[in-house]
Amino acid sequence: MKKTHKTNILVQMWQQRYLYLFILPGLIWFVIFCYIPMAGNILAFKDFTIEGGLWNSPWVGLKNFKSFISGYYFPIVMRNTIGISLIKLVFGFPVPIIFALLLNEIKSTLYKRTIQTISYLPHFVSWVVALGVWAKLLSVNGGLVNRIIEMLGGKAINFLAEPEFIWPFAYFSERWKETGWDAIIYLAALSSIDTSLYEAAMIDGASKLQRIRYISLPGIKDTIVILLIFAAGGIFSSNFDQLYLLGTPPVIHVAEVIDTYVYRQTLQNMQYGLGTAVGLMRAVINVLLIYAVNKLTKKYAEVGIF
């Protein structure tokens, strides 16, 4: 009985041989490019030497973790990572929602579609281009923003070299780049709201703002909550491209985050053990956050506490 079951599986697998052929290169790729680096995390517990390499370098226990936590950069990097993420979350999260609600009120489809297409543009350019463009606009030598400040009687500010402007600019540039893109999901949720609700409200004499407040917003509430929970789960992730490029010497102490620290301070100085330890810490925290977030979303979906 058992034997026939086994041969049945083998027969079925033989029938599916082309499917396995489709999957095989992928499986090999995932092992090499995802699972081997995962195993490479053992370097976090080793003192990397050139001769020893990954496998034969001596074990050092938690030394790398300790030296990161007691090191000069630890408080700076933690404060920047969490601080920048929080600013982006608190002030940034509502922006695409507001944009979607306003765009949804535009009647002409062509006009609406055009605005949407143009609002995606900053998303599709790289951070190098985006920040290159803004650096030009904000430059002290004739940049447009400073020209306007001077015309209004102010003094030119070298924005990207002033520490107090880095966090606000990190927030601003990310919203500039991603608002249109992030609004896609809200717009889709808005388009699935039953239009008869709006018609009924209009007959009852509800104003546009009231319709937004009492129909549109509740209609996308679930989407908002789920995306908010996920955004909160990303609090330890930072935007490497953006913060690496913003992190010039005069402002590095407010721009260095965990990811840029790993690249700039450890990889480029060949402190591989230390860098792996920091990366591993971040990865573990992230997994825990995602786990918590999933629990929260499930709870929300079940109980509907909001």
Binding site: P37, L54, L102, L121, K208
Partner: protein
């Protein structure tokens, strides 16, 4: 039924949208007019709306400088090869995974899912590329982003929801095997999702400067994105000087060249994404539902 407050709202809304458009377009326009102005002849602060001291020098130097041409070539090559391979390989994987009776389906899905949430970190990844001899190697720009669990899941969702089961069943009755079914039925019916994944993959390759920075340790064979990053943010002055020196111009309009390079880096994206809008919006929704 249009009351005064409705009207006020519409005016307010149009004003906001006007500023959104301005904010999204003007920065790029500004760079565009700077790329056409000889900034050594005029004060940059005088340039607002149209180029001043019009010149095509920036673009001429860009397209006659081997450094730029090589980088452009690397970018085009990695984008074309990387995108074609990615779309095909991820689609093949996704098709197999979309078969409900595939033995080991759950296990393989889990195997992919893990890679979405937990990774090896930068340094183990770098050491891997080093031991695979992918440093200073063109394939180092292509192979690391060949597959992606998200791509596979989104494509699988599309295949299961949008390809009629009956079509595949009748092909099986006609004696077609999975390879024929995939290439002759599934792929032609999946253009929206293929276009979406191709767009994301192509934009990813075109814009990615970091891989080039990480692996091209000898400075040769870098893509345009990496070169642009170095010109704009890296050892700026040095690179700009080198470029103008080799261009044999007396007074190098280095700012003009930089801005021309930014525009060249943007143009392919500008030409592609607006036409794929209806596809990728759908792709995003499928991906969001999966989460």
């Amino acid at each position: 039924m249009v009351t005064g407050s409705e009207k006020k709202f519409d005016i307010f809304n149009n004003v906001i949208m006007f500023f959104v458009l301005l904010l999204c377009l003007y920065p790029f326009w500004y760079v565009f007019i700077l790329s056409l102005s000889d900034v050594n002849q005029v004060d940059t602060s005088k340039i607002w709306i149209v180029p001043k001291a019009f010149t095509l020098m920036g673009y001429k130097i860009f397209f006659s400088n081997p450094k730029f041409i090589d980088a452009l070539f690397v970018s085009v090559k990695r984008t074309v090869i990387g995108t074609l391979l990615s779309v095909l390989l991820n689609a093949m994987f996704a098709y197999a995974l979309s078969k409900k009776n595939l033995i080991g389906r759950k296990l393989i899905s889990m195997f992919l899912l893990i890679t979405m949430y937990f990774g090896g970190g930068l340094i183990p990844f770098f050491l891997l590329l080093k031991s695979l001899r992918l440093l200073n190697n063109f394939w180092g720009l292509v192979l690391p982003s060949l597959y992606g669990a998200w791509n596979i899941f989104v494509m699988r969702a599309y295949f299961t929801s949008s390809i009629p089961e009956s079509l595949i069943e009748s092909a099986v009755l006609d004696g077609a095997n999975d390879i024929t079914i995939f290439f002759e039925i599934v792929l032609p019916l999946s253009l929206p999702i293929l276009a979406t994944i191709a767009l994301f993959s192509a934009v990813g390759h075109w814009n990615d400067w970091f891989t080039g920075q990480l692996i091209m340790t000898l400075g040769q064979g870098i893509p345009l994105s990496t070169l642009l990053m170095r010109i704009l943010f890296g050892t700026q002055r040095m690179v700009a000087l080198q470029i103008s020196a080799s261009a044999k111009v007396n007074l190098p309009p280095s700012e003009t060249i930089k801005m021309a390079a930014v525009i060249v880096a943007m143009i392919p994206i500008l030409c592609v994404y607006p036409f794929l809008q209806k596809y990728f919006v759908k792709g995003i929704m499928i991906g969001a539902l999966k989460e």
